[in-house]
């Protein structure tokens, strides 16, 4: 054991790697010995190894140039005169590695074809792989005959090599490989497991783009019962993909096949089938049951791989169908003490999701006994389980918080730490009772945190939440320590955080001012600038300024700001830069999170953030829209204006500008015997809306989407902003040949009626997040305030809140979109910017009395008409 350890250490030091200090020039020099006769196979093998090492260690700066590589390659070709098997195989390897760096590598084509058809079985498979690597589509014809023969060769290794190489060749020469279908089909009936598997893979990839052919393939081989478990697994995957694409139900024969595989004799196949069923989108408890029961059997298998696979899959199922997994709880309990810690972790986290509240403490204790033995990857699994537990059992948060904070103190990489911090933050945001404890743990964490991005995030959070707890002063020390001890990015974040305490808490202001003054001489520009700005703002003692510059910062799109500033500097003008001309940052639409989809909504956020920037770019490329000014808002979801599966499909997205709305219509032609030209959507506006111009889609080919735009002017009357517009698609039809797409010369005009489009208040408001709503409320003041009272049709407070948010399309602030259970009143805070750049805030007080909800709505805005539009919209 001791010896073993030392060896391992040596390896890490690199001292035992004989190739670590290779010099390229010396190795190339050595390669000249390939030209000598007689050949010394041992020495040449050694030299080739060094060459391979150099090629693959390019990151160390020893890049092999084309000329050098070509020269070495040609020297190496001379080694073909030796029949030493070890040397020859090294030559094959070198050919493959050099195929893309040396020139004229086809020089070895005949030598390789000779080997692949020769008597030496040991050479054949490797020669095929090397040959396919150097062959391009122009050369492929000349080796086609040999490939076809090799695919059906009776030596399994040869046949497999040919099949797998063909699969590689598909990428560049699909058309040639397509012709080998008969050989591949023959190979599927091989009695060798690998050959059958590879052959089926090739067949599938040849037909992959032809849905009908694939489904024929599947039904053929599901009936034939393949011998190779690998092939059956592949067949299950193909069948699954088909089911998914067709949206077919559980009565499909494909599904029957997959289900029948649950009773296969091979464990691999059984697992594959269970895994497939569990992961299908539309699986219900009924289909799930048999899959879960085979997984349950695997849980008590003596093979660790099977136990691992089953637990991992059940862990996933427990997120979507916890009830289905409950049946396995007993078996999972047995795995808690599994010697394989990965299995134990998965078992416990699964139990955490399916078990009852009472078992939480016991399980957490169990898991903490071996936390230090598992890898970061599994620690993250544990953290995620804790997160969803906290959503499910909010009362359990003290246990969880303690656990999380001890994990924060442990060793661990960035991803692990980040997942813990994410979880603590989401717990304290969801649960106000957990707030102080959570903040305290985070404060402790940043005292010794090596990850800048996490420290910055926590400081930002402290600035937002800290001033609102009972005793804000306790955080100042932690924050100020960062100003003294950290790198520039963290110092800047700490300065911003301090300023927020100053702006929020009168009593802390004098000390905050003193602390900020110390940063005036910071070595970093950003830190100094921030300190200077905040100091001068705070010294004014004006709530309005505090709100605008410290508590509720700019809400512009960063990409947009960059673009606008760039434009401003390249085309100088006397007018000052107008921040209102910068498009706003689009707020991700966060629905109330359910425990399971926390992960999914993360990724969705990212897309939502950049979507408007993309539209903005596309629209600004169209000269007709030059004069409209910056894009204000794009509607979030495309609206379908046609019933699905009709001749044409049209989706609409609305883009709002200061005085116009541009309707973007994404059209698809689903008729393969028609070509449409000059496609426009005619709108029939009312309520004072007027069509300004159309940007037609020049040509709409079968199945190739294209876009047309219609630009409409919003009425001058500031109070008429909503309308219903009817639409007709007009175009020139040319009949065409369904096979070639070749259109007739003449066409005829035609039109197609689409569904109406609504323009609502939503389209005129962009969501904006105000981290400190109260300060903004004061900042805007009551100059343009409107207050009204309504009775709503909603049956519950939560329903009312949801309706109001979706109706106004504004951003809920202060987490007021969450209604505490069992309350009879609630206040909802909404923020947004109205078309033209006017801030709008809504405070809506809701009360539930005798099953009906009444609402008192107060609207404040920097423009009166905006307040009026919004107040009247709800009525």
């Amino acid at each position: 054991m001791h010896m073993l350890k030392r060896d391992k250490k040596d390896e890490e030091d690199g001292s035992s790697n004989p190739y670590a200090n290779l010099e390229k020039s010396a190795v190339l020099q050595e390669a000249r010995t390939f030209n000598e006769t007689p050949i010394n196979p041992r020495r040449c093998c050694h030299t080739l190894t060094k060459i391979l090492y150099i090629i693959n260690a390019e990151h160390e700066g020893e890049h092999l140039g084309t000329t050098e590589a070509t020269e070495t390659f040609f020297a190496m070709t001379k080694l073909f005169q030796s029949n030493d098997p070890t040397l020859r195989r090294m030559v094959y390897l070198t050919i493959k590695e050099m195929a893309n760096i040396a020139e004229d590598v086809i020089i070895v084509t005949s030598s390789l074809t000779k080997d692949m058809t020769g008597k030496e079985d040991l050479f054949r498979a490797a020669a095929i792989r090397a040959l396919c690597k150097i062959t391009d589509s122009t050369m492929l014809q000349s080796i086609e005959r040999y490939m076809k023969q090799a695919i059906v060769d009776k030596v399994h290794a040869v046949s497999s090599a040919a099949l797998v190489s063909s699969l590689q060749l598909m990428k560049t020469s699909h058309d040639v490989v397509k012709r080998w279908v008969n050989e591949a089909t023959e190979a599927v009936s091989s009695d060798n497991m690998m050959v059958q598997y590879h052959a089926l893979g090739l067949l599938y990839h040849i037909r992959k783009n032809d849905r009908l052919a694939v489904s024929k393939l599947v039904s053929k081989y599901t009936r034939q019962s393949l011998k190779s478990p690998y092939a059956v697994c592949l067949l299950i995957r193909i069948a699954c993909k088909l089911l998914e694409e067709d949206g077919a139900g559980h009565d499909s024969p494909m599904f029957d096949f997959i289900e029948s595989c649950l009773r296969h004799k091979s464990e691999m196949v059984i697992y594959e089938a269970a895994h497939a069923i569990v992961n299908m989108h539309n699986t219900t408890a009924r289909e799930l049951a048999p899959a879960v029961s085979v997984l349950q059997l695997f849980l008590s298998s003596p093979k660790p791989t099977l136990r691992f696979a089953a637990t991992k899959t059940l862990n996933k199922v427990s997120m979507t169908h916890p009830a289905a997994v409950t049946a396995c709880n007993l078996d999972l309990e047995n795995l808690i003490t599994d010697v394989n810690r990965s299995i134990a972790t998965l078992a416990i986290t699964t139990l955490l999701k399916t078990g009852s509240e009472s078992s939480v403490d016991r399980l957490m204790k169990q898991i903490s006994s071996f936390m230090s033995e598992i890898s970061d990857e599994f620690k993250v699994v544990v953290v995620q389980a804790i997160k969803s537990l906290c959503m499910k059992y909010p009362r359990k948060h003290p246990v969880m918080m303690n656990f999380l904070s001890s994990m924060l103190r442990d060793e661990g990489g960035f991803d692990y730490k980040k997942s813990i911090v994410d979880t603590i933050i989401s717990i304290l945001e969801e649960n106000s009772e957990a707030k102080e404890a959570g903040l305290a743990h985070l404060c402790e964490f940043i005292e010794d945190c090596e990850h800048t991005s996490l420290a910055v995030r926590i400081l930002h959070l402290l600035g937002r939440e800290g001033p609102r707890v009972a005793q804000p002063s306790k955080y100042i020390r932690f924050i100020y320590n960062r100003v003294i001890l950290e790198n520039a990015a963290v110092r800047a974040a700490a300065v911003s955080s301090l300023a927020k305490f100053g702006a929020n808490c009168e009593d802390l202001l004098p000390s905050v001012l003193v602390l900020l003054e110390r940063s005036l001489l910071d070595s970093d520009d950003e830190v100094r600038d921030r300190a200077t700005l905040y100091l001068s703002v705070l010294k004014q003692h004006q709530k309005v300024l505090n709100s605008a510059y410290i508590l509720n910062a700019l809400n512009v799109s960063i990409v947009g700001l960059e673009r606008a500033l760039h434009h401003y500097t390249t085309e100088p003008s006397d007018v000052a830069f107008d921040i209102k001309s910068v498009p706003l940052e689009t707020q991700p639409i966060t629905e109330q999170k359910t425990p399971g989809d926390a992960m999914q909504s993360k990724t969705a956020d990212k897309i939502a953030l950049s979507r408007q920037d993309i539209y903005s770019e596309q629209l600004s490329a169209i000269p007709e829209f030059d004069s409209l000014g910056p894009l204000f808002k794009s509607s979030s979801m495309p609206v379908e204006l046609t019933e699905s599966e009709l001749e044409y499909s049209v989706h609409c997205i609305k883009h709002t500008f200061s005085n116009h709305i541009v309707f973007q219509f994404d059209c698809t032609n689903t008729l393969n015997d028609q070509l449409l030209e000059n496609v426009t959507i005619h709108m029939d506006p009312s309520d004072g809306f007027e069509v300004v111009n159309y940007v037609p889609a020049q040509c709409l080919k079968y199945n190739t989407p294209s876009t047309t735009y219609t630009c409409v002017k919003v009425p001058d009357d500031p109070l008429s902003v909503t309308s219903t517009l009817s639409n007709t698609m007009k175009f020139l039809v040319k009949d065409c040949d369904p096979n070639t797409g070749e259109p007739d010369h003449d066409g005829y005009e035609d039109e197609y009626v689409l569904e109406d489009i609504e323009v609502t208040v939503c389209d005129h408001i962009q969501r904006v997040m105000k981290p400190n709503f109260g300060a903004s409320w004061e900042e805007i003041g009551d100059d343009n305030q409107i207050e009204e009272t309504f009775a709503l049709s909603a049956k519950s407070l939560a329903e009312a809140v949801k309706n109001i948010i979706s109706f106004l399309g504004m951003q809920p602030c202060e987490r007021s979109d969450k209604v505490a259970e069992g309350r009879s009143s609630h206040t909802l805070y909404l923020a947004g910017v109205y078309r033209g750049g006017h801030d709008v805030l809504v405070r809506s007080r809701l009360a539930l009395m005798e099953g009906a909800v009444t609402m008192q709505i107060t609207v404040r805005s920097t423009q009166l008409s905006a307040s009026e539009v919004i107040a009247s919209a709800v009525g």
Partner: protein, 187 residues
């Protein structure tokens, strides 16, 4: 290996190995010639145009030959030169029935002769005026004059009319080559 060869090898009488480069225009019969020279049991049944090169071995009375059989197609000819340096002899095959391309063959030969790896070496050149069986085939004397062999300086050369399909003329050429190489080595 036969028993005698094994014995010879064991006693240190192993046949001397020589490197030979076989070149000439495509379709001239290079691969067919070499195939014919190989022992019966390792001959190919069908011969396809060579792409790049292939290494073959055969033996004469006193030598063991390692031949680099090059591809004669236009786009591969400029790759021949990579193999000039190690060659101890050149076999140049001409299709004697292809009068039209004889100038092309001559041109390739001239380039070869002026190459720095060939120019100043006393390499033996063996020419095969191949496909002698065809009706339109020129005689070896005619081929020799069309190729301008009489101007070939400082290199021993020899031309044989051959028929690679039957093997006629091949052994005469190979024996000449064997003598040349052995006398080269003696000097």
């Amino acid at each position: 290996m036969g028993l005698l060869d094994k014995l010879a090898a064991w006693l240190g009488f192993k046949k001397k190995e020589v490197h030979v480069l076989c070149i000439g225009l495509d379709n001239s019969g290079k691969t067919t010639i070499i195939n014919q020279l190989k022992p019966k049991d390792s001959q190919y049944e069908d011969i396809v145009p060579t792409i790049g090169f292939s290494v073959e071995k055969f033996a004469s009375s006193a030598l063991s030959f390692t031949v680099f059989d090059m591809s004669g197609q236009g786009r591969y000819r400029n790759l021949w030169e990579h193999y000039y340096k190690d060659a101890q002899a050149v076999i140049f095959v001409v299709d004697s029935s292809d009068k039209l391309r004889m100038v092309v063959a001559k041109d390739e030969m001239d380039q070869l002769l002026s190459h720095s790896d060939i120019k100043n070496r006393r390499l033996p050149f063996l020419f095969f005026a191949n496909k002698m069986d065809l009706r339109e085939a020129l005689s070896s004397v005619k081929v020799s004059s069309m190729m301008g062999l009489e101007n070939l300086q400082n290199k021993p050369w020899h031309i044989c009319a051959s028929n690679a399909l039957t093997g006629e003329g091949l052994h005469e050429g190979v024996e000449w080559l064997t003598d040349q190489i052995r006398s080269n080595q003696k000097r």
